[in-house]
C-alpha cells in the first residue's frame, strides 16, 4: 500500500507540471503543424528566387515551353526549350503507369480479398521492402540487367531507353499503389461483400462489380500517388532512360526527363547564370506538376471521407 503511494506521488507532481506547461506544449505542436506551410512557401520562394535570372529576361518563356531544343551551353545561341523534356517525363510516367496500375491494383486485390493468414503478412512485408530499395539501386538494375535484356529481346539499338526507365519506375511505384490500394479495399464494409455473396455473386463479380465501384476513390488516389512518385524520381531515370533530348518516336527511343536534366547539369551551371536559372525554372515546372497530382489525389481521398 505504501509502495503504491510512493509511486503515485511523483505522478501527481508531474501532472501538475504538465497542466501548467500545457499551453506551451500546445503552441509547440501548433508550430510543428504550421511549419509545413511555412516550408512549402519558403521552398516555393527559394525556387522562384533562384530562377530569377531566367524568369525575368534571361529566357523567353514561350520558347521555354514550346521549343524542343535544349542547348544551354551553345556558343552560337543558348536555347532553353523544355518541350522534349516535358514530353519525356510524361511519356515515361504514362508508360510506367501502364505497367504499374494493373500490377499494383492486382496485387492489392489479391492481398486484400484472396489471401489470408501467413502468406498475406509475408506479401505485405515483401512489398514494403520493395519500397525501401534505394533509387540508385533500381538505377543499377535497369542499367546493368534490364538494358541488355531489352536489347536482346527487342533488337533496340540501345538498352537505356524509355521502356527501361518505365519498367524501373513501374516497379518503384507499385509498392505505393499496393499499400494505398489495399487500405482502400479494406475500408469497404464487409456488409457489402456479404450482401453480394448472398445474391450469389462469384468472387470475381464481388471484386469487379462491388469493391471497385465502392473503393474507386481510394484506388484512384493510389494511382495518383504512384504517378507523383514516378514524376519526381530522379536518379533511376537518369541512369535508365538514356538521357537524350528528343521527342521519342517509339518506346525503344532514349528520352530525357525534367528531373534528370536538373540532376546532371546543376552541378556545373554557373551559380546565378541563365542556365542555372533555367534549371530552377524546370524545378518550378516540376513543383507545379507534382503539386497538381498530389492535390488531385488529396481531393479524391477527401471525396472518400465525405461519402463514408
Amino acid at each position: 500500500m505504501s509502495d503504491y503511494q510512493n509511486t503515485r506521488r511523483p505522478g501527481i507532481a508531474w501532472r501538475g507540471l504538465m497542466d501548467r506547461c500545457e499551453p506551451l506544449i500546445e503552441w509547440a505542436i501548433r508550430l510543428c503543424g504550421y511549419s509545413a506551410i511555412l516550408f512549402i512557401f519558403a521552398i516555393l520562394f527559394f525556387i522562384i528566387w533562384e530562377s530569377r535570372s531566367a524568369l525575368f529576361g534571361g529566357v523567353n518563356l514561350i520558347e521555354f515551353f514550346t521549343s524542343t531544343r535544349w542547348q544551354p551551353t551553345s556558343e552560337v545561341r543558348p536555347e532553353y526549350g523544355i518541350l522534349a523534356l516535358i514530353v519525356g517525363t510524361v511519356c515515361v510516367t504514362a508508360l510506367a503507369m501502364l505497367f504499374a496500375v494493373p500490377l499494383g491494383l492486382g496485387a492489392a486485390v489479391f492481398i486484400s480479398e484472396f489471401c489470408s493468414g501467413k502468406p498475406k503478412e509475408i506479401l505485405k512485408i515483401v512489398i514494403e521492402l520493395l519500397a525501401a530499395i534505394p533509387s540508385i539501386v533500381w538505377g543499377f538494375i535497369g542499367y546493368m540487367v534490364l538494358g541488355p535484356i531489352i536489347m536482346w529481346t527487342t533488337g533496340a539499338a540501345v538498352g537505356v531507353n524509355m521502356l527501361n526507365g518505365s519498367i524501373i519506375l513501374a516497379l518503384m511505384s507499385v509498392p505505393i499503389i499496393v499499400s494505398v490500394g489495399e487500405d482502400s479495399l479494406k475500408a469497404v464494409p464487409d456488409s457489402f461483400r456479404e450482401a453480394a455473396l448472398s445474391l450469389g455473386a462469384s468472387r470475381w463479380e464481388i471484386v469487379y462489380r462491388v469493391l471497385f465501384p465502392a473503393a474507386k476513390n481510394g484506388l484512384l488516389a493510389a494511382v495518383l500517388l504512384g504517378v507523383g512518385r514516378a514524376i519526381g524520381e530522379t536518379m533511376a531515370v537518369l541512369m535508365c532512360t538514356g538521357h537524350a533530348v528528343q521527342i521519342p518516336r517509339s518506346p525503344l527511343d532514349p528520352v530525357r526527363t525534367l528531373t534528370a536534366t536538373i540532376a546532371s547539369e546543376l552541378g556545373e551551371a554557373v551559380s546565378g547564370g541563365i542556365h542555372y536559372g533555367a534549371l530552377f525554372l524546370i524545378g518550378l515546372v516540376l513543383f507545379v506538376m507534382t503539386f497538381a497530382v498530389n492535390l488531385a489525389a488529396d481531393l479524391v481521398v477527401k471525396g472518400i471521407r465525405n461519402e463514408q
Binding site: 531544343r69 542547348q71 556558343e75 533509387s135 533488337g155 538521357h243 547539369e265 552541378g267
Partner: protein, 291 residues
C-alpha cells in the same frame, strides 16, 4: 534527392577531415575539379601522402566547372580542369581575390573514340565524327560507313555524348565540330567519362568519346584521321606527344596567385619525374616527354 545527399556527404567528409587535420595539425590541401583528372589527382594524393605524411590532399571530382566555381568561392586550393578558364571566370577570380589565377599544365589527355569491341570499324575521321555529332550532320547509320555490320544487329549509330556542361564535351565540340558549332540533339548523354565507356561496352551499335585512360577490354579505340579517307593515327602516348593524334588536350591545375607553402611544394612534386610517372601509369600523356 541524391544530389543533395552528395552535397551533404561532401560537407560531412570535409568536416570530418577538417576536424582530423586540426587535431593532428597536418596541412590539408583541397583539390577539386575535372572528372577526367580525378583518377590522376587521387593517385598523386596517395603517392604524395606516403612521402609526406604531414600533408593531406583531399580530392573531389564533379567536373572542371565545379572545380573552378569552388576555387572562386574559396572552397578549394587547387582546381583541376581539362579546359582553359573562361574570361568571365578569370574576371570573377580577380574580383573576389584581387589576384590572377595561375595556370599550371600538368599533363596531356588524348580523347579516344570508342566503339564496342565487336564493331568491325577500325578508323574514323574528324569529318565523319562532325557529320555524326554535329548539327545538320547526316550520318546516322553504320551501313553509310561502308563496312560489314558484323555483330551489330541494329543499323542505327547510337551516339554516346556527355552532359552538356562537362569539360570533355566542350573540348570535343570545339575540336571535332569547330568553334561556334552545336551538337545535334538526341544523343545519349552519359554522366561521366567512365559511364560513357561502360555504356559503349554494353551497346554493340554505340560510338562515343572519353579520355584514353578509360579504355577497357570491352571496348575498342579507333584510329583517328583529320579527313575522310586519310590514314588514321592510333591514340598512343607517342602520337599524342608528337602531336600527330588529332584530339589531344592539356590538363591543367589552377591556383589563385603565386603558389606558396604546401601547395607550391605539392605542385613542384607533381611536375617532378616522380609525379609525372603517375600520369603515365594511368594512361595519360606526361609532360617531360612532350617537351
Amino acid at each position: 534527392m541524391t544530389p543533395q545527399m552528395d552535397f551533404s556527404l561532401i560537407i560531412l567528409t570535409a568536416l570530418v577531415c577538417g576536424c582530423g587535420d586540426s587535431h593532428q595539425s597536418a596541412t590539408a590541401i583541397r583539390n577539386e575539379g575535372s572528372d577526367t583528372m580525378v583518377n590522376i589527382a587521387q593517385a598523386w594524393a596517395e603517392e604524395y601522402n606516403q612521402k609526406r605524411q604531414d600533408v593531406k590532399v583531399q580530392v573531389l571530382g564533379g567536373g572542371s566547372g565545379v572545380g573552378i566555381a569552388s576555387l572562386i568561392d574559396g572552397n578549394c586550393d587547387m582546381a583541376n580542369t581539362s579546359r582553359k578558364m573562361k574570361p568571365d571566370e578569370v574576371k570573377e577570380v580577380e574580383e573576389k581575390h584581387a589576384a590572377k589565377p595561375q595556370e599550371i599544365i600538368v599533363g596531356y589527355d588524348a580523347l579516344a573514340i570508342y566503339v564496342h569491341k565487336g564493331n568491325p570499324l577500325d578508323s574514323i575521321s574528324l569529318e565523319e565524327l562532325a557529320d555524326l555529332y554535329g548539327e545538320n550532320g547526316t550520318l546516322t547509320k553504320w551501313s553509310e560507313l561502308e563496312l560489314p555490320l558484323g555483330s551489330i544487329k541494329n543499323d542505327r549509330i547510337v551516339r554516346i555524348n556527355r552532359q552538356s556542361s562537362s569539360g570533355t564535351y566542350f573540348y570535343f565540340r570545339e575540336t571535332v565540330l569547330g568553334k561556334g558549332k552545336d551538337m545535334k540533339l538526341g544523343s545519349v548523354d552519359a554522366n561521366g567519362s567512365k559511364d560513357a565507356v561502360s555504356l559503349i561496352s554494353r551497346t554493340p551499335g554505340a560510338i562515343g568519346y572519353s579520355g584514353m585512360g578509360y579504355a577497357t577490354d570491352e571496348v575498342k579505340m579507333l584510329l583517328v584521321s583529320r579527313r575522310r579517307g586519310e590514314l588514321g593515327v592510333a591514340p598512343t602516348l607517342e602520337n599524342a606527344r608528337n602531336g600527330t593524334y588529332p584530339i589531344t588536350r592539356p590538363l591543367q591545375i589552377y591556383v589563385i596567385g603565386k603558389p606558396t607553402g604546401a601547395v607550391k611544394e605539392y605542385l613542384d612534386w607533381i611536375l617532378s619525374p616522380e609525379g609525372q610517372e603517375v600520369v603515365l601509369q594511368l594512361g595519360y600523356v606526361p609532360l617531360e616527354t612532350n617537351k
